[in-house]
């Protein structure tokens, strides 16, 4: 139990003056100790970085592989930059600034090298730049073209900040003790739902993450996190996001153990471990929710590894690849670079990053998922979005799939959710927007919640909504199978 100063004063039996001098002396000694340790740590750090610089110079002068003379240096820089990034992650602002600078420098370096190689002057390159510029223009106009749009942009920013804060502070909000202490999972779930509709979703995801982390330090094999023990009695409604949270915990632990320069065998072993953990700890039919989180972790904290993980995942667990790219798309929405509406458009990344069509469809679905669920309380935000991005998102069914899937997940997490009911009943203010809204959002969303969701729930296939696929076809197959 913590003892207060008053109590200590009484117990010491000293006079007030002597007690004060004694206390100040103690504080001074502690401060002196910490400052001494800090000085040593700072000097040790400087010494390490100096030697590291010398080592990289040597690596460059005497490369061990003439085909890739800078590979050894690149491989050495990566984990240190990653370690610093982990520390910067403690401060949302600095982490955001780091990622912004990182994206800017990468784009500039690419542009410089492409210009030197004259690639930047090819028609396809110029067409791509023009397309990027056009998307960016849409984003700026979406938020800044009218007073009403600025107001909606402000609402969107507030939603983003609220979600960010909820996820970051989930453990404090739910009074989850430090990772070495057990806690009552059932009560924590109740506390998450007590936060109310909308915050509950994010709190449950955070809870799933924190609960799974407790098992990761224990001896292997790790089995039954969400199927045994306290999790056995969890209400069904929290399972999708508990699995998503568990996937986040697995991903953040395992991805820290590899770099883009790790041997292929090591990368595959880590991905295999991820897949095994998901299979051994998930409820039947919810695995997709956990697989999807790997994409989110990889794009958010290890963006250089997205394509590498994709390539190896195709061998390790081809069925998880779609979920992975869905998570990559979802990560874009929460990425600090795109955090402030109107500044940079995540839809540029959707055009640039995916290496093949299925990846792109899943990224679009993932980004639509996050956009819809974060702004579900203000359907006008999505309505305005469609006004500006309608021509892009109506090209594929992936956007609508993301909207449908996220509302299915939301309806499952919070049965009879007030905000989802409002969203489903929304009628656009502008008649010209009605057709697009009904086609891309209104009708499919109602179909998803009223027809598709009950079938997926009945067949224990809710994890399927965490990737792009034709949900009507899936439901047809499931119902057909039953009749057969």
């Amino acid at each position: 139990m913590r003892v207060g100063h008053g109590q200590r004063f009484k117990e010491s039996g000293m006079g007030a003056d002597a007690f004060l001098r004694n206390s100040l002396g103690e504080v001074g000694k502690r401060l002196e100790f910490f400052m001494l340790e800090l000085t040593k740590s700072a000097m040790r750090y400087s010494w390490a970085i100096s030697l590291f610089g010398a080592q990289q110079l040597k690596n460059l002068v005497t490369p061990d592989n003439l085909r890739h003379p800078t590979r050894r240096a690149n491989a050495a820089f990566y984990p240190i930059t990653q370690a610093v990034e982990d520390r910067l992650n403690d401060s949302a602002l600095l982490f955001g600034v780091f990622l912004l600078g990182e994206d800017a420098q990468r784009a500039l370096v690419d542009l410089t090298f492409d210009s030197l190689k004259l690639r930047a002057f090819t028609p396809s390159y110029i067409a791509r730049l023009t397309q990027d510029f056009s998307i960016q223009l849409k984003e700026s106009r979406r938020v800044f073209s009218s007073v009403e749009n600025v107001r909606l942009g402000w609402e969107e920013l507030k939603n983003n900040v609220e979600v960010f804060t909820l996820v970051k502070n989930a453990s404090q909000l739910l009074a989850i003790p430090p990772s070495d202490q057990d806690f009552d999972l059932g009560k924590a779930v109740e506390a998450a739902y007590a936060l109310g509709q909308f915050p509950d979703l994010w709190a449950v995801e955070g809870l799933g993450h924190d609960y799974a982390l407790r098992f990761l330090g224990k001896s292997k094999p790790i089995r039954g996190i969400l199927t045994e023990g306290q999790a056995r009695t969890l209400p069904d409604k929290c399972l999708t996001m508990m699995h998503a949270g568990m996937g986040l915990a697995f991903g953040s632990q395992l991805m820290d153990t590899i770099t883009p320069y790790s041997p292929a065998s090591q990368i595959r072993a880590v991905l295999q471990e991820y897949v095994t953990l998901v299979k051994d700890n998930s409820r039947k039919g919810y695995e997709g929710a956990a697989y999807e989180s790997l994409g989110l972790v990889t794009r958010f904290w290890h963006s250089q590894m997205v394509n590498i993980v994709d390539q190896h995942m195709q061998d390790v667990e081809p069925g998880a690849v779609g979920y992975f790219w869905h998570g990559v798309g979802r990560a874009l929405y929460f990425f600090p670079t795109y955090f402030v509406p109107g500044l940079l458009s995540p839809w540029i990344a959707v055009e640039q990053e995916p290496p093949y069509e299925l990846a792109k469809l899943n990224m679009i679905a993932g980004l639509a998922w996050a956009t819809t669920v974060v702004d579900v309380r203000q359907p006008q935000i999505l309505e305005t979005f469609l006004e500006y991005y309608g021509d892009i998102v109506s090209k594929t069914p992936a956007f609508t799939n993301g909207v449908m899937a996220t509302l299915i997940m939301g309806s499952d997490i919070t049965p009879d959710d007030y905000y989802i009911r409002q969203f489903l009943a929304h009628k656009p203010a502008h008649p010209q927007a009605t057709e697009l809204w009904n086609k891309l959002v209104g009708y499919p969303a109602n179909d998803a919640v009223h027809r598709i969701y009950p079938v997926l729930k009945k067949h224990h296939r809710l994890g399927e909504v965490f990737r792009y696929q034709d949900l009507s076809e899936l439901v047809g197959r499931l119902e057909g199978g039953r009749r057969a």
Binding site: L36, S41, R44, T81, D90, S262, A264
Partner: protein, 140 residues
């Protein structure tokens, strides 16, 4: 070269922001020391044996120097036993670092000689070395 340029910029950018973060962390020195240690540990992980020995030797000397500087205020610096212990530690660490350095130089020379032999007569291509090590795909 493109990836290398990006690596250098990333590293420098990260280090600059880390400096800013550590400046704000000065108000909580324990937290700042923890952050320095985490990055130092990651850096140490990249050192070869030779460099690790040099790092340990230099680190120990620095620590002693800090203790000694602080000891001047408490009179501890006048203790001859401490001076003898420090001198003996420094000699031991330096000898260790030199030995490891010599071993490192020998092995580098051997490696260079063997790769020269391979490339001159045995017909193996230089790229196969990296393939046989099983590196993962590299970002373009």
């Amino acid at each position: 070269m493109r990836e290398f340029t990006k690596s250098i910029f990333s590293f420098s950018w990260a280090m600059s922001l880390f400096g800013v973060q550590q400046t704000t962390n000065l108000l909580s020195p324990a937290e700042a020391a923890k952050a320095f240690d985490a990055v130092t540990k990651a850096t140490e992980g990249q050192f070869t044996d030779v460099l690790k020995a040099s790092f340990d030797a230099g680190d120990k000397m620095q620590r002693n120097a800090v203790d000694l500087t602080l000891g001047m205020f408490s009179g501890e610096a006048l203790n001859p036993n401490k001076w003898i212990r420090m001198a003996s530690d420094a000699a031991k660490q330096s000898a260790e670092a030199v030995t490891k350095g010599l071993q490192g130089v020998t092995s580098t020379v051997q490696q260079a000689a063997s790769s020269a032999t391979k490339s001159s007569g045995c017909g193996s291509d230089t790229g196969s070395a990296s393939k046989s090590q099983g590196w993962g795909p590299m970002p373009s």
